[in-house]
């Protein structure tokens, strides 16, 4: 199974440093990644808060990976793909598009703010749009503050066992 690698640092160690938003960007190879590449080659400036993960198609991006990214410490997730009609695989991004409303609803029900999930179409020519998007999402997340799911899980005892308080010898 595919897996997202993000922070492996212990939660306590990350809290000590000044917090910076950490955004995981799932970018399709044919358009959005090339667009991001263009932003780089054109020397456009954008915040270094996004970690890009390249996918062959945004339609291939399993929603599981979005959850995994939050669970492992991402503050926000971006999913970028080709504009409708431009998909290299004809209908890959139609599947991405159809999945978005349910993903948004589930994330909302889980208490994750809508600003922490962004889905946009970025073509290979839209380097500037990519740079603006990263800046915008970074600013929004900075205002919201850290999501810090691993710390939350740690505090509520998930995966670590609880401090065993005997409730009395019978």
């Amino acid at each position: 199974m595919a897996s997202v690698q993000t922070h492996t640092t212990a939660p306590a160690a990350t809290a000590a440093k000044a917090w910076e938003p950490r955004i995981i960007g799932f970018l399709c190879y044919w358009c959005s990644y090339t667009g991001a590449d263009m932003a780089g080659t054109a020397r456009m400036k954008y915040p270094a808060n996004v970690d890009i993960i390249k996918f062959m198609c945004s339609g291939r991006m399993d929603p599981e990976l979005i959850m995994q990214a939050y669970a492992k410490g991402a503050d926000a997730v971006m999913v970028l793909g080709c504009h409708i009609g431009d998909c290299h695989y004809m209908v890959g991004n139609h599947k991405t598009m159809a999945r978005m409303p349910l993903i948004r609803r589930v994330l909302g029900d889980l208490g994750i703010e809508p600003e922490r999930f962004r889905h946009e179409w970025v073509s290979a020519a839209e380097g500037a749009k990519f740079a603006e998007l990263v800046a915008e999402v970074t600013e929004q997340v900075r205002k919201l503050g850290p999501l810090n799911w691993p710390q939350k899980m740690h505090d509520s005892g998930v995966g670590h066992g609880m401090d065993l308080k005997p409730w009395g010898e019978v």
């Binding site: 929603p63 669970a71 159809a98 999945r99 349910l102 609803r105 999501l147 799911w149 066992g161 065993l164």
Partner: protein, 325 residues
Amino acid sequence: MSEGNGNGKKKVAMFWAASCGGCDISLLEIGARVLELIKIADVVFWPCAADFKYEDVRNYPDGYIDYCFYNGAVRNSEQEEVARLLRQKSKTLIAYGECAVDGGIPSLANLATKAEIFDRSYHSSPSTVNPQHTEPQEITPSPYGDLEIPRMYERVLRLSDIVPVDYLLPGCPPQADRVWEAILALATAAVPERNDMVKVGCTDKSVCDECPREKKLIKIKEFKRPHMVRPEPEWCLLEQGLICMGPATRSGCGALCVKADMPCRGCYGSSGTTEDQGTAMIGTIGSLLDATTEEEAHRLIDEIVDPLGTLYRFTMASSYLKGAK
């Protein structure tokens, strides 16, 4: 109850933690085969069916119990203490049923905080009258000494969040035939003596694999709930607009619900290809929508009532996010 290991029988225990009690009943559902079971095994702890005290278990030597079936999620300090005690006293610990394996329905409580649950249960629900705002206290002083009750935890946990588990036997409840197969496999050492969270009594495939219904490759035009329609026989329920968890659910049940015109509720947990049952289903549903624009997809998705409770009905504690923020 036998003394020592003199009679050569295996020693079996069953414990009921945060669950409905259906698991205890499902073990009896093996019917007359229970007579075969007691030929090969002695019950040394089963609070639901026989009079054993925790003290009896504490007095057993470590590793005394051969097979311990622990059903139910871990919700409070008593359940954690017994989980640790049974782990110490058991050679093989089996998480029995979906609550112990994946959190089950109790883990939907992870969508609310402990404070919210207490408020609802003891103050704000319409049927509650509690003018003194009484809430359960861990320690209550009394003339006869302090009275203690177990502490409820902030979250519902799986058994494997607390102690190492050898086998997982999923299902809500596990089907009797699968339970019997698993017991025989354990008794005849057809599965390794000790293992790390191997799923038994199920397969690695999905419920669709066992489902007799036919797919017509027709996309979903509207979502319906089971009480709203009488589904057409022999046609995939998901394509008929009923949210059937079959594609994301481990098989083993024999597709019982779908054969009875009811969509799969996902009670055997995630299938072998994914760890997060709900997101696997999000992907599946997304691919099946009859929508050419995001607005159309939105309109269809808005028809789904309680997506979180539907997609993670049995596996909230096993999902990546484990609960709400």
